[in-house]
């Protein structure tokens, strides 16, 4: 199983906690998928509102590792302050760092991401950067202390799958020893299996499960898919070829 900043996790599936029809369905999705990490956020809590406290009790009961995010942050300062608040709230140095650069695609801002990651790494955070598959960006992130990279598969919430398979494959080849996680854009378990077959260590998703008609069943399907994909990746897949090659022996065929 993948190891993130010295902590071995129990599953290759990292699951978001937003958009489920109910807290009970969320809990069931985690139970059936075996996901080992839950992503969470920090948001304003109004006057007598107890939603945050209730949510925290639910997450604690899941018994999984918690990865807070800086979702929705467009500036370095916003992201850094959000990360600092999240560290205190969730009592973890882990932070899924999002610095968004474009409102329509929710594409990471690579310049702000490197700046924020450097500040946070300096401050003792263990940064999980939500990034693109750009090799130069990823090199910079590793240089400033990131020990895991989380390139997008496709824009958040689109379900388009792996948009740049060549880029993801290149990244894997370029960083053989850095844990790599496809984060965002997955819509189907087959896409998660494909990410694992490319040699990725884990996938992180939310909408594909939470917005399925049966989220718990879909979560289980993703859990099975990442295991199947990882097993295949380690089983040394055959090389593809253009021309057919019979699998049934030619020798011994009756002459009719």
């Amino acid at each position: 199983m993948p190891t993130f900043y010295g902590t071995e996790v129990t599953s290759r599936l990292m699951l978001g906690t937003a958009q489920y029809p109910s807290p009970a369905v969320l809990a069931e999705a985690f139970r059936r998928s075996g996901a080992g990490i839950a992503t969470v956020s920090v948001r304003r809590e109004a006057g007598g509102d107890q939603a945050g406290q209730d949510f925290w009790a639910l997450i604690r009961d899941l018994g999984v590792a918690v990865l807070p995010n800086t979702a929705g942050c467009y500036s370095v300062r916003e992201a850094v302050t959000t990360a600092q608040m999240a560290r205190e709230l969730f009592d973890t140095n882990w932070i899924k760092l999002e610095v968004i650069g474009h409102a329509d695609t929710l594409q990471p801002d690579p310049f702000g991401l490197v700046d924020a990651a450097a500040q946070l790494a300096e401050d003792g955070f263990e940064v999980f950067p939500y990034c693109t598959e750009d090799l130069v960006l990823c090199e910079r992130l590793v240089e400033i202390g990131c020990k895991v990279l989380m390139p997008w598969g496709a824009p958040i919430g689109t379900g388009l799958g792996l948009n740049n398979i060549y880029g993801l494959r290149s990244l894997r080849a370029h960083f053989p020893d850095i844990p790599l996680v496809v984060d965002a854009g997955l819509g189907l378990p087959s896409q998660a299996a494909h990410a694992m077959e490319l040699g990725y260590d884990a996938v992180l998703l939310n909408t594909a499960v939470a917005k399925a008609g049966d989220p718990a069943a879909m979560a289980q399907a993703f859990g099975l898919a990442v295991e199947a994909g990882a097993l295949a990746a380690h089983a040394d897949p055959m090389d593809a070829r253009d021309m057919a090659a019979p699998s049934t022996p030619v020798f011994g065929k009756a002459l009719l």
């Binding site: 937003a18 948001r43 809590e45 995010n69 600092q84």
Partner: protein, 65 residues
Amino acid sequence: MRIIVNGEAQETGAPTLAALLDELGKGEAKVATSVNEGFVPKQQRADHSLNEGDRVEIVAPRQGG
């Protein structure tokens, strides 16, 4: 004095951030705070004086992807 709490203007007599949280019934709640876009750790809230026009953010754990 008049301050902004989570984007809403309000009157408060609280001299410090800790006193404001008590006033809002969140003294014991699992929340994190910032003032004027800078993080204020829990152990510094009692010493952090509030001033007219301060922008206070109070956040709690929430669902995320």
